[in-house]
């Protein structure tokens, strides 16, 4: 399935958001996920089914002033 993740086109076999995040080894990391401009809370990741063409943002805290 084809998604846009963090601005780049990506192919994935993940069926849910949880799987997708897991594929990046981020399930335990402090990341926040946005799908098509809407934030999806962590507890909803498991049940959240991915669809072709979804725009996904996976963000985290970095150094800043």
């Amino acid at each position: 399935m084809r998604l846009e993740i963090n601005g780049k086109p990506e192919e994935t076999l993940a069926a849910t958001l949880a799987e997708l995040v897991g594929n990046y080894g981020l399930e335990k990391e402090l990341v926040v996920v946005e799908v098509n401009g809407k934030i999806v809370d962590r507890e909803k990741w498991k049940g959240f089914e991915l669809e072709n063409g979804m725009k996904i943002e996976i963000v985290h805290f970095v150094g800043g002033g």
Binding site: N6, L26, V32, I39, I58, G63, G64
Partner: protein, 259 residues
């Protein structure tokens, strides 16, 4: 004494807000944070690098319980983008504080007054504790307070320039009229800039580059901490007035040569 600062219902012992960008390495950063005694740390929100997902997640280096996190909206070019970033930051569950930072000019990174005002109003309504980075325009700072800013953060000078307090007069007007804490943000170069701001009555200082890019960041962090204490003490102590002519500090009678 318990000379504390309260923002968004949170009582702070330290008036020194420290940024987490541009340190030579995480160890130096943590040492600087430790010695600074800061309780408020700023961060930015960025996309995870999917080629190396675990890298530069700054939080793995700091103990979350000890600090108030103040994420910024850097990268936002208008109010909508700032609001979007703020919501992502809040969704992390770490903090409902947000530093509104909206800039369109890559040379100066100066804040856009209109968009900053819009974003501050919207986010305050959504229940964020909003600390907008703003120009030192006293009218704008008052407006930001009126739309719900928990504190206002006028810049001393553009980010990273180290030019210090370009307009002490405006800063003093802002402080005089403010009904919320005034945190001087950006442009600080060295300890004397911090002391000057605190002597003018600023409630706190937010800086990053001045420490992170100093030749010795840890020692500079210590110097900045002393500077906050020095400026605050001087502000509370009531300095002597400036006078044109001299007044002897030694006794002015019983001189040896008197006839």
């Amino acid at each position: 004494m318990n000379d504390t600062l309260e923002i968004g219902g949170r009582r702070l012992k330290s008036r020194f807000f420290l940024g987490t960008g541009r340190y030579p390495n995480p160890f130096v950063q943590n040492e600087a944070i430790r010695i600074s005694k800061s309780e408020v740390l700023t961060f930015a929100i960025r996309r995870v690098n999917l080629e190396a997902p675990r890298e530069d997640a700054v939080l793995q280096h700091v103990n979350a319980e000890d600090f108030v996190f103040l994420p910024n909206t850097s990268g936002a070019k208008n109010a909508d983008e700032a609001v979007r970033i703020a919501r992502l930051a809040k969704a992390s569950g770490l903090s409902n504080w947000i530093k509104v930072e909206i800039s369109v000019n890559a040379n100066t990174l100066l804040p856009d007054p209109v968009e900053t005002l819009k974003a501050t109003e919207k986010l305050a309504k959504e229940g964020f504790v909003v600390l907008p980075y703003t120009s030192d325009d006293p009218v704008l700072c008052k407006r930001l307070e009126e739309v719900g800013a928990a504190a206002v953060m006028p810049g001393a000078a553009p980010i990273g320039t180290g030019l210090g307090i370009l307009n002490p007069y405006n800063l003093s007007l802002i402080i005089e009229e403010a009904g919320v804490p005034v945190i001087v943000d950006a442009g600080i170069g060295t300890a004397s800039d911090v002391v000057q701001a605190m002597e003018l009555g600023a409630d706190g200082i937010l800086l990053n580059t001045a420490v992170a890019k100093a030749r010795n960041p840890v020692k500079m962090a210590e110097g900045m901490k002393y500077a906050i204490d020095a400026g605050r003490s001087a502000y509370l102590s009531g300095r002597i007035p400036k006078k044109r002519y001299a007044t002897a500090s030694s006794e002015t009678e019983k001189f040896l040569m008197q006839r």
